[in-house]
Amino acid sequence: MSTATTHDAHHEHQPSGIMRWLTTTNHKDIGTLYLLFSLLMFFIGGAMAMIIRAELFQPGLQMVNPDFFNQMTTMHALVMIFGAVMPAFVGLANWLVPMMIGAPDMALPRMNNWSFWILPFAFLMLLATLFMPGGAPAGGWTLYPPLSLQTGMAFPFLIFAIHMMGMSSIMGAINVVVTIFNMRAPGMTFMKMPLFVWTWLITAYLLIATMPVLAGSVTMLLTDKFFNTSFFNAAGGGDPVMFQHIFWFFGHPEVYILILPAFGIVSQIIPTFARKPLFGYSSMVYATASIAFLSFIVWGHHMFTVGMPIKGELFYMYATMLIAVPTGVKVFNWVSTMWKGSMTFETPMLFAVAFVFLFTIGGFSGLMLAITPVDFQYQETYFVVAHFHYVLVTGAIFAIMAAVYYWIPKWTGNMYDEKLGKLHFWISCISVNVLFFPQHFLGLAGMPRRIPDYAVQFTEFNMISSIGGFVFGLSQLMFAYIVFKTIRGGAKATDQVWEGAHGLEWTLPSPPPYHSFTTAPEVK
């Protein structure tokens, strides 16, 4: 990629070929590795989703057996969350945080390399389970015991793969925190940092605080299975629901880990194309922090049907509803930024605007899910599936795509093909709604999730959804094509790239030098 050509003269010792990538400590190289890895995982997880959608095209069992279907559901989610979205965000942080705060590199470059290079091994371990006797884990990405304890050979590999992903995330997060704390250019005060940096700082805290808890919970699963402990076994005084509490103490902050950096991206892009400063910068920061804080006390909303004491149900309902307030502040701020701007709609802006629309729809269904007595009806149905794909696919994934279109001219020095980009956007945006909107109806009508086969009244909407899915999937091939085409060449990008772009990264050449800021810029 671009960095290969910015081989400074004083770096003659740098190894070339594969060793360069294996040993690199450069934030741009590592960012590139993260992003490419994430793209690969997106395709693997997406291929699994395609199998799910193909099986659900009509009732009856046609392609796969139920056990394999459950394996696909489980692995799809694990690969998408831990393999596609999280590494994509870390990749973006690697590329952008040093450039945005005026640093030469990440604060802990060697650990940066390690945090990336653990991932391929972790996913090798996870994906290898697909080929083991008994197949991959099939108990859902939430790994609820006792079901997950029935997993065969794959089980310990699953647990250790998760441990490795956790280590990688923690190291990545520590690196981001330290970089932001310690590497800011003179004058770059906290309240001058771009919002992407802010949201990542807060995300990093969520990661450091929750990934170890996930590690703890899966460790307990491991000892319950192999060392006869009884954390999740009532016969010994434990409780299967205890796992759910510990898991969701991680799991709920996790979903904000998957969206806060997206908020940051959108907060960078909208002002650029509205040619107007972000509305309510400081309230954006406070809102992000409030969301992060609230995310630690709402986990019970995933467990309304486990039979919690009534006080718990009420508490979690109220706390969850509160999250709509800071999130609303963000949405309103984005809209106000657009208001009376002078907007143009290049591909990044299209994705960002679609994000605001579609994420809000996903947020609304989230709010409906938060109302305990009604959640009893929605829980474990396709209504939930629709909710989280709106926030994850049209939320996180759309934001990541917006980010790639927005910054790829900076990274590579080449402009992407605007026509193709727009086409990619429109096909994706329409098909993704065909894919996920009907799932709301399916859920309301009572179709449970995680089933390979369904009652006949659900047929039509499943067909529509599957067709949308195939179109959406195919259109992502276009995305990959555009990205690689841009890496290989294209119209030369200027340093500022976008007319309305502000921020330190746009003061660097496109592509930027190997070490972003060898002398720290002065920020006024």
């Binding site: 770096h11 010792h13 360069r20 040993t23 690199t24 400590t25 030469p104 590199d105 604060a107 802990l108 470059p109 060697r110 650990m111 390399n113 653990i118 091994f121 371990m125 310990p156 590999f157 647990i159 250790f160 441990h163 490795m164 520590i174 690196n175 925190v177 330290v178 310690n182 590497m183 450091i208 605080a209 990934m211 170890p212 808890v213 590690a215 703890g216 919970s217 307990m220 192999f226 060392f227 006869n228 402990t229 009884s230 954390f231 009532a234 016969a235 010994g236 005084g237 434990g238 409780d239 629901v241 205890m242 509490h245 510990i246 103490f249 004491p309 009534i310 070490h515 800021f517 002398t519």
Partner: protein
């Protein structure tokens, strides 16, 4: 291989991380295979690779540090890094403390027929809730302990040992800051010794629990939380003691200056963290 950028040291390429990844993969994959019935050899190969990596990686860092390549800003990065690493460890223990709390406050009373979900007792009609839990809802499946470890014997002694070691490591630090090598080395030496003694007592206690009290990992939720919490703590004490032993060796070699001794401080922070976790353990696991 090295270059300073605006004074901030950015290393150029390092093969230690990839060695570490291979080691981690081999060790954990080997452990998983072992749990499925295969041999332990790959696991130990992996462990060996990791140890090799640790030596190499830290060796490089020590070299760079001793050659004065780290300015104050780098030092600060290390400090922040270590602090947040310790924070993540705190959260790891929090998961297990959470499990203990949940078992004591919710699941065990519920199974015994008390509280909001006391209905559960219909399924376990002979069970009544007590803590420490010396009987389980289904006794047939578990090793029923005859007694638990008394807080005011070895555990209390161990508390004293760890608290003392916290003092001695601070004393050693003062020595370092005054450039009093003798105080540094003897302080560290005593700290390591106390740490080893602690682990020894802990091992003795485990043997006693297994052999005499029939208190095992498989003794229901009491045994599970007891051994997992104290076990992970013991593991951390061991790691901390190794870290301090390395600092001792380095002090003897003449490393560190009164101004520059991040590694020493990191090890001692870690040691204090282990200390604080122990206090939590002593109170909630042994005493109350």
């Amino acid at each position: 291989m090295t270059q300073a950028h605006g004074g901030y040291y950015v290393p150029h390429g390092s093969h230690w991380p990839i060695v570490g990844s291979v080691g981690l993969f081999t060790m954990l994959g080997g452990f998983a295979a072992f749990l499925n019935g295969a041999s332990t050899i790959p696991m130990f190969i992996g462990l060996a690779i990791i140890i090799y990596m640790l030596f190499g990686w830290f060796g490089t860092v020590i070299n760079e540090s001793e050659n004065g390549m780290y300015n104050d800003q780098v030092d600060k990065s290390f400090r922040w890094g270590m602090s947040w690493f310790i924070f993540s460890e705190v959260m790891f223990f929090a998961a297990f403390f959470g499990a203990l709390y949940y078992a004591r406050e919710f699941s065990v009373p519920w199974l015994g027929g008390e509280g909001a979900k006391g209905n559960a007792n219909i399924l376990w009609d002979n069970f009544s809730a007590t803590w420490p839990l010396l009987q389980m809802p289904d006794m047939a499946k578990f090793d029923v302990p005859t007694a638990i470890i008394d807080a005011w014997q070895i555990p209390a002694l161990n508390t004293l040992i760890l608290l003392t070691s916290g003092v001695t490591v601070t004393w050693a630090h003062w020595g370092l800051k005054k450039n009093n090598r003798k105080q540094l080395i003897s302080g560290l030496f005593v700290t390591v010794l106390l740490g080893v003694t602690f682990v020894g007592f802990q091992a003795y206690e485990y043997i006693h629990a297994y052999n005499d009290l029939n208190l095992k990992l498989s003794s229901g939720i009491y045994g599970s939380t007891f051994f997992m919490l104290t076990g992970f703590h013991g593991l951390h004490v061991t790691i901390g003691a190794i870290m301090l032993a390395v600092m001792l060796a380095r002090s003897i070699k003449g490393h560190f200056t009164p101004e520059h001794h991040f590694a020493f401080e990191a090890a001692s922070w870690y040691w204090h963290f282990v200390d604080v976790v122990w206090l939590g353990l002593f109170i909630f696991v042994y005493w109350l």
